[in-house]
Symmetry: C2
Subunit: 362 residues, 2 copies
């Protein structure tokens, strides 16, 4: 599909739905490109508001506010995939929306996402749609146990899912998880998780960053290490699959793809999920790439040429959760680049910032 929109000029305004740390980092990257950001977020204390000239505090279903927002921006993007479909459609009718509403629709629904990926021959874990307890029991019979029952929408950081270990777990899990339908995923004995941040420009150029190896703690990303400890062929395959996905979606912007690496003599990959936005596991790009994922996304949505995802050093990104943020400033000498999000209160489980540590210069 050709894209008739001309490149934005410096000084243009990019509307960003969502005012959390990802929106904030997008706005900071935009500022360096001479692009102004207008953050739209219902939370008046959104950290992104501190770094942008324009803001709207309004609900995502406030049609008047959305129309006013659209009138003031040249293009609209977002920092989270759970933008309501009606919001996306309204905005897309008023201004270019990048990535588009289709990318949102697919990535915010676990069944739609798996169906899309499978239709493109992208390997995913075995799964079944579950509309009823009877379907769940049949699915358990087909996929075996253990298996994971998940909501199709709004799951993140371990929320909205239950592990089924015995047949008896099924009814309670089915009752606990809402709304239906659900999706049952077969158990995948993966060795590790890796992820690829990939970008596609409006003219169809595709660039992928090196895969990161991700470690979670209490279902929240703890570290991303680059390079991932996988064979070169696996890293190349992951990048190739990520590129196939953005091409298949006719995507414009940065997208994160999480993979499970399955063990064995010939390691193989499954796609766990995709996120139509900059991704926590790509924060390492800030420290060691000429163009980081935030600048890359802003370049793409502005219709600009992509930058170089080349990596200058080995690096580990560590999230600072809750009071871990207190490592700053005492622990940030030498090899460490900190990035705090400007959140006032360090609540438990809250992502307050991250640090990038250089492991070895290339």
């Amino acid at each position: 599909m050709s894209d008739p929109l001309p490149a934005l000029r410096p000084g243009a305004t990019i509307g960003i739905l969502g005012g959390g740390q990802l929106g904030r980092m997008l706005a900071l990257a935009g500022a360096k490109l001479g692009l102004k950001s207008h953050i739209y977020c219902p939370d008046p204390h959104s950290p992104a508001f501190d770094v942008t000239p324009f803001k709207t505090v309004a609900a995502y279903d406030d049609e008047a506010a959305l129309r006013a927002f659209a009138a003031e921006v040249d293009i609209v993007t977002y920092e989270f995939e759970n933008v309501p479909a009606a919001t996306a459609e309204l905005l897309a009718s008023l201004k270019p929306l990048r990535p588009d509403a289709n990318a949102l629709a697919i990535s915010q629904d676990r069944l739609a996402e798996k169906s899309f990926l499978a239709s493109k021959n992208i390997p995913v874990a075995p799964y079944r749609a579950v509309h009823s307890l009877e379907e769940l029991e049949a699915a358990v019979g087909e996929l075996g146990l253990p298996a994971v029952l998940k909501t199709t929408r709004l799951g993140y950081d371990g929320k909205g899912q239950r592990v089924l270990r015995t047949q008896e777990d099924a009814a309670a899990a089915f009752a606990a998880l809402k709304p239906h339908p659900l999706v049952l995923e077969g158990f995948v004995p993966f060795e590790k998780e890796i992820s690829v941040v990939v970008a596609r420009s409006a003219d169809g150029t595709v660039r992928a960053y090196d895969p990161a190896e991700n470690v979670h703690r209490a279902h929240i990303l703890f570290t991303s290490t680059v390079p991932a400890d996988v064979p070169a062929g696996v890293a190349k395959h992951a990048a190739m699959l990520a590129k196939v996905i953005v091409v298949a979606l006719d995507y414009v912007g940065v997208l994160g793809v999480e993979f499970f690496v399955l063990g064995g003599e010939r390691p193989s990959l499954l796609v766990n999920e995709i996120a139509p936005r900059v991704h926590n596991s790509g924060h390492w790009t800030e420290a060691v790439c000429l163009t980081d994922q935030f600048e890359q996304h802003m370049r793409a949505v502005a219709g600009w040429p992509l930058g170089d995802p080349q990596r200058y050093a080995d690096v580990v990104m560590q999230n600072l959760i809750g009071d871990e943020v207190e490592i700053v400033p005492g622990g940030i000498g030498g090899d460490t680049q900190p990035h705090l999000y400007g959140k006032a209160e360090a609540r438990p489980g809250r992502k307050m910032g991250h640090i990038n540590r250089i492991l070895r210069a290339n």
Copy 2:
């Protein structure tokens, strides 16, 4: 001198005098550290205002505004050396000022600067203070011709100076340049200009970036290339001299030092001038250092540990003057990192942005 001020906590506010591109880049760097910036600038269209939560639009001699500003910030720094002495003294009486008023007083007066440098055995070009035409004629006799007559204050980008080629040039130049006294500098047959950006933390740690080789065009910095094409001993000597200067000043923050490299079998160095702030010839650090000069300055003034000035690649920084800014977005693919300053109007001679181009990865 010991510094009793404790390190600022994330969430603290740094007051910045000046709202141009340097203030803007400091504020952007501060945001990544979780530090808020309050920009004080008389120009309501200052580009830095777009990226900060707090701003004051007021004259630098508006005592009430300065007091209100000081009350709202935890520490004060600045993006330009021509902060009036009374402003600096008032602010320093209310909140910590970093770098301090002494650094300002020395660096904003060419005679005081040369006298300070000479007193520390830092080599400078031969010079004479010139209070009268008679003194000028005597100085020309001593230093020879050609020579350069300069104002002691407010000179930049070639403004406030005249080259004397003959005895007859003296009277006209003396009459044209104001205010008096002036300074006559002997002609220095330098081969090139290099500069070093150096930082000193509140606890006295000193770190220098690699020297950059600077090329000017119409008296405005055009490119800074790193590494500079000088012998390793010259690069080391330049870094050493820069470190001597910040130690002698009991300095806290980032400081730029411009050197002339004199030719001959054994190249030697003279200090041309110092700037008590982040420096245009240090913009390359953004692209290829884990900690760039802006983050380094904010770390230092916040009382935080310095970051690593290590360089990952060879790089050339090019200023975008006036309509050269139109290279963005068409010309920024691949190896180029752009940084625009968000200025609305591309007037001739105006610094609109810069680009960093990678020459070779290390």
